[in-house]
């Protein structure tokens, strides 16, 4: 079983309160902020490691990120991944989810045969939840999101339990497939000291645009149809307003205000 796990190093959430926004580039200024792996990414890796440990095979971690995240990705090797491929190139910078998914999918194809691609449902920082489905579309394979349980079946199929708004749904699909795991699927293992020693023998490969032979027009900022128009920290100001008059009049006034605020169901 060859499993690819897509992960994304993100700024350490404990530093988020002091992450400054750059009004010109509309990006976060990440200098001096350590990176970590999000919980869902670790859940995806944990699931991959458990499948490999029970069925045999290989777990490859793929990540598109700056070179400065090598240390963060080392954690995946220490957790037990067999290899890591870091996709890093200046021209990848500024990518939206579509351009990111394109690069990830291209790298997965370049890795050769694979049976399963696992991702977190969404990243902890941006949280669009778009990358896993888009990667599946680029690879032209099925995908399931919000996955809570994975059972491998005979005949190259997989049965998954996925969370829905009202409960859960059981689905079966052919492999290869992309599965985006939901919180609670497992408790990711902690890195052991033995894992740290074992990681010394494993490799982090770095692939740039030329290694992947990607279309330059489809990567990075130029390849991103989504452009950030404005970025700002939300102002959390509370303002009280006292309604006066008869009860019926006050309720009518309140309802009008709620409708105007867009919080009433349509």
């Amino acid at each position: 079983m060859k499993i690819v796990v897509c992960v994304k190093p993100i700024p350490d959430p404990s530093y988020w309160a002091r992450l400054p926004l750059d009004p010109k580039t509309h990006t976060l200024r990440r200098e001096g902020i350590p990176n970590v792996l999000g919980l869902l990414d670790k859940c995806a890796l944990e699931e991959a490691l458990r499948i490999r440990d029970s069925c045999g095979g290989k777990v490859t971690v793929v990540s598109m990120a700056p070179l400065s995240t090598l240390g963060t990705l080392y954690q995946t090797l220490a957790m037990g991944a067999d290899e890591v491929v870091l996709l890093s190139d200046r021209c990848f910078a500024g990518a939206d989810t579509l351009a990111t998914s394109y690069v990830l999918a291209t790298a997965i194809k370049k890795l050769g045969q694979y049976h399963l691609v696992l991702c977190g449902d969404k990243s902890l920082d941006v949280g669009t939840g778009q990358v896993a489905p888009q990667v599946a579309e680029f690879l032209a394979i099925p995908h399931v999101c919000h996955v809570l349980k994975i059972d491998l079946l005979d005949g190259g199929r997989v049965r998954v339990k996925a969370k829905t708004d009202d409960g859960h749904i059981i689905l079966e699909t052919d492999l290869p497939a992309v599965l985006a795991v939901h919180r609670g699927i497992n408790q990711p293992r902690l890195v052991s000291l033995m894992g740290l020693v074992a990681a010394r023998e494993r490799e982090i490969k770095v692939w740039g645009a030329s290694d992947l032979e990607v279309d330059p027009a489809r990567v990075g900022l130029v390849g991103s149809p989504t452009q950030v128009a404005q970025v700002f920290a939300p102002q959390r100001r509370r303002r009280g307003e006292l309604l006066q008059g008869e009860a019926e009049e006050m309720v009518r006034s309140l309802m009008a205000r709620l409708e105007q605020a867009g919080v009433m169901p349509t």
Partner: protein
């Protein structure tokens, strides 16, 4: 000069941080109330390989070294100095065998200690003296192939937990005729004595170890007869003092986090007290003590990892980090005001825990005596 940690160290720190928050933090309140060591936490630590951090790989450990050990204990002690102290003393027990033992003894004991199958500790202090290791009254008499050891050790960390005790005993009439022995707790005549009730580090065991005509084979002698203080102090210097210092680092981290969190949340005069200069200066002092202590502790560990003589540097690290932890805990209490005295806040625990680090592995006065040898030599 490069102060950056390796990828391996950074990942280790992250993992230990997660371990502390996920596994230890939920146990702290219970430890405070019962003073009992949570054995499931010890088992988890063993499973992660934390017992064998400085034991070489060919003896079942990971051999990650002293700096890795400091990072590990720092992160554990950030959540619970009691667990940090207990862990570091297990390392010290194993370290005495690693440093003072012969190949046969290392192969016999260290693989089990590395995996946590068995626990070790070091038992030197007696009612007659701890800082003066030559004042001990425990005796060991050689009769045939067996030493008969009799005496009473006190204030021994992990006294009731450890399976293997490295004990010092008097083997001759001369004032310096002290030897060190490995004593298995299953040896007839060995028994745990009183378990102390401490003001801090609740959950770590400190108690008496009693040896009554305890017969151990002469193969259990660590090093040469008459060299026992050197063997024991070697373990204390290379493991006990840095380990205690790393516990101080953990408390300093905890203090800085608690003090800044409280100062940002507590509103007085219409604004968070973090905006008051008096509070800022206290927080700054804690920050400075943490940074200074960490430099001293990490440097001492680096010297051990690079096989340099580091007695003075280790003493400086132990002295500074533990005294700084006491200072920082006091300031953290001050910043909290009356809240700091309440059990719901960690400040009072840091204060009680920090003080116990001062006497462990040699008082501050002993550290001064060791340090001053360097400039005076």
């Amino acid at each position: 000069m490069d102060f950056s940690l390796t990828q391996e160290h950074e990942v280790l720190r992250q993992s230990m941080k997660e371990f502390g928050e996920r596994v230890i933090a939920p146990k702290v309140r219970e430890m405070e109330e019962t003073s009992e060591m949570p054995m499931d936490v010890m088992a988890e630590m063993a499973k992660l390989g934390m017992m064998g951090v400085t034991i070489p790989r060919d003896l079942g450990g990971t051999g990650l070294g002293h700096l890795a050990r400091m990072i590990m204990i720092e992160e554990i002690a950030r959540i619970s100095a009691a667990i940090g102290m207990s862990l570091q003393m297990l390392h010290t027990g194993a370290g005495a065998i690693l440093g003072g033992g012969n190949d046969e003894q290392r192969k016999k004991y260290l693989p089990d200690l590395a995996t946590g199958l068995r626990f070790a500790t070091l038992a030197v202090t007696e009612p007659a003296g701890g800082s003066d290791p030559f004042a001990i009254q425990t005796t060991a008499k050689l009769e045939g192939d067996l030493y008969t050891i009799s005496g009473r050790k006190c204030f021994i960390e992990n006294s009731h937990l450890a399976d293997i005790h490295t004990v010092t005993a008097r083997t001759g009439e001369g004032p310096r005729d002290i030897s060190t022995f490995i004593v298995d707790k299953d040896t007839p005549g060995w028994r745990p004595g009183r378990l102390e009730h401490k003001m801090g580090l609740r959950g770590s065991q400190v108690g008496e170890v009693i040896l009554e005509n305890c017969k151990v084979p002469k193969e259990n002698l660590l090093g040469a007869e008459g060299q026992g203080v050197r063997v024991a102090l070697g373990g204390i210097s290379a493991y006990g003092r840095p380990g205690t210092a790393a516990c101080g680092l953990g408390i300093l981290n905890g203090c800085l986090e608690a003090a800044t969190r409280f100062a940002k949340e507590r509103i007085l005069y219409g604004k968070p007290i973090a905006e008051l200069q008096a509070i800022q200066w206290n927080i700054c002092d804690i920050y400075l003590d943490l940074e200074t202590s960490r430099l001293l502790v990490y440097r001492a560990a680096w010297m051990l990892d690079t096989a340099q003589r580091a007695d003075a540097e280790i003493a400086a690290a132990k002295f500074y980090a533990t005294e700084a932890a006491v200072r920082a805990a006091k300031k953290t209490m001050d910043i909290h005001g009356a809240y700091g005295c309440m059990n719901e806040y960690a400040a009072q625990r840091y204060y009680r825990d920090a003080q116990l680090l001062i006497s462990a592995a040699g008082t501050s006065e002993i550290q001064r005596m060791i340090m001053v040898r360097k400039p005076l030599s």
